[in-house]
């Protein structure tokens, strides 16, 4: 491509959340001079999702990912309220309700939606992924009473924490035997659960499969009665619009290690299932940091007309009841847990003496150190224990 500028080329990005917006702005940062079209089915300016479960007080405002004026300055053709409905690879066209949109390169960034329950929700219940969902939850918090949270994952516990801090009564219901089943080792999950109980949250774990019913005023879930129920039981990739396009769709858009789904077609963020070069296997992450890094990677590939494999160690953070929880890598079969007197926790997960992940509470710099150690491959337990001293030396060893 001439001087890597690609000034006669058109990149169409579908989905204007963190991955899509980041791809658009990174294209410009990497020197791409061609046309950039950014579509989203949602109306309004792009906002960030993580705040939706953390800030639900009546005065909370949504931070935008980017101002529309910045998009204009960067010559990004942002088209809100335009849903992609199909893809024709042969002609290089995205079909939308507003007509076909031709592309030279396509970036699929349509993310996820909440996994629905098998039955429709009663009036006083909702999921949490969009601005409208968030407004509905905020209204419920403003009215007060009891919030029932279905699903004790990150999102559900964050909302529970925020609601109890704002004076609501809160019950969390999950079929799992403990909180944070995905991605957090048992010892840390137990500490987080205890923190919630101390704050007044009622935990009902090992519940029956949740069935919600209710009327205009109240909602009932497995015997718990509340004024509003928030359902957060996972997410599904938004890939139905790609059916029949010829792309491989299996729990996301299947991509090679370079995040390419077909020549000139890329997928980034929560909807991308790619061969993660760090682990050499197909993975789909649902993490903010991965979404941004995917997008940056693909923008660079397009702007420089070159490809390279994307390696990513999963990283999540969660803010609950004043605690900063961070997890890098994956949970293993063994666990080493260290705690200090002042509420700092460090858990090292390992399988066969190789460290697969590290989880921290209120120890951001330790998490950075662990994240560095895990970048290239799984280090040994000794290496990590050594590198994370003084924490591993001075803290009490719990298990």
């Amino acid at each position: 491509m001439n001087a890597a500028a690609g000034s006669d080329r058109t990149v169409v990005i579908v989905g204007a959340s963190v991955a899509g917006v980041r791809c658009a702005t990174s294209l410009r940062n990497a020197g791409f001079e061609g046309t950039v079209v950014l579509l989203d089915s949602d109306a309004g300016a792009p906002y960030d999702k993580p705040q939706l479960s953390k800030r639900i007080d009546s005065a909370a405002r949504l931070d935008l990912i980017v101002e529309e004026s910045t998009l204009r300055e960067l010559r990004i053709d942002f088209r809100p309220a335009v849903a992609a409905t199909g893809l024709d690879l042969a002609t290089g066209v995205v079909e939308t309700a507003g007509g076909p949109v031709p592309f030279d390169e396509l970036v699929i960034a349509t993310g996820c939606r909440p996994r629905p329950l098998a039955h429709p929700l009663p009036a006083q219940a909702g999921y949490l992924r969009t601005r409208d969902d968030w407004r509905q939850l905020k209204e419920a918090v403003t009215r007060g009473g009891r919030l029932v949270v279905v699903g004790a994952g990150f999102l559900g516990l964050e909302a529970a924490a925020a609601a109890v801090s704002l004076g609501m009564e809160v019950t969390v219901v999950d079929v799992a035997p403990r909180v944070l089943m995905r991605g957090i080792p048992t010892t840390v999950a137990e500490r987080v659960a205890a923190r919630h109980v101390d704050a007044g949250v009622e935990l009902r774990l090992g519940a029956q499969g949740p069935v919600l019913d209710g009327d205009d005023q109240t909602v009932r879930v497995d015997g718990a009665r509340g004024d509003y129920a928030l359902v957060s039981v996972g997410a599904l990739p938004n890939v139905e619009w790609l059916a029949g396009s010829g792309l491989t769709i299996e729990d996301g858009v299947v991509c090679d290690a370079n995040l390419a789904a077909a020549p000139g077609v890329w997928a980034v963020g929560d909807c991308a299932r790619w061969v993660n070069a760090r682990y050499g296997r197909l993975e789909r992450h649902e993490h903010w940091t991965t979404a941004g890094r995917h997008a940056q990677h693909v923008a660079r590939s397009i702007a420089t007309a070159s490809t390279s494999p994307m390696a990513e160690v999963p990283y999540v953070w969660s803010d609950q009841l004043g605690w900063r929880l961070q997890a890098i890598g994956r949970v293993g079969t063994e666990e080493l847990h260290f705690a200090s007197g002042n509420g700092v926790h460090l858990a090292i997960s390992a399988t066969d003496q190789l460290v697969t992940g590290v989880t921290t509470i209120n120890a951001q710099a330790l998490c950075v150190a662990a994240r560095r150690l895990l970048q290239q491959g799984d280090p040994t337990v000794e290496e990590v224990v050594e590198a994370l001293a003084p924490a591993t030396r001075d803290f009490a060893r719990i298990s």
Binding site: P50, T289, G292, R293, R324, Q364, A365
Partner: protein, 80 residues
């Protein structure tokens, strides 16, 4: 409110707002030459007082990678 910590190139200023920073550390991975997380305070230390054109893309990535919106890159004005 603490004043942001700033460093600059000839044309731009990088601001770090410590009131917003949560110590997530993404900046350290996006631009390792620019940031390190301080072990005692859990907030980043700016390792350099300025940056070159070649380092700018990594810096822009660090700004975008910050989940807390604590980093800002702005054009240098007459006062900056």
């Amino acid at each position: 409110m603490t004043d942001p910590i700033t460093v600059s190139s000839p044309s731009e200023v990088l601001e770090l707002d410590l009131d917003k920073c949560n110590g997530y550390g993404n900046c350290v991975f996006a631009a390792p030459e620019m940031f390190e997380l301080d072990l005692a305070s859990n907030v980043p230390i700016l390792l350099k007082a300025e940056w070159s054109d070649g380092e700018r893309e990594a810096l822009a990535a660090a700004v975008a990678d910050c989940p807390a919106g604590a980093l800002r890159l702005r054009k240098r004005d007459a006062l900056g």
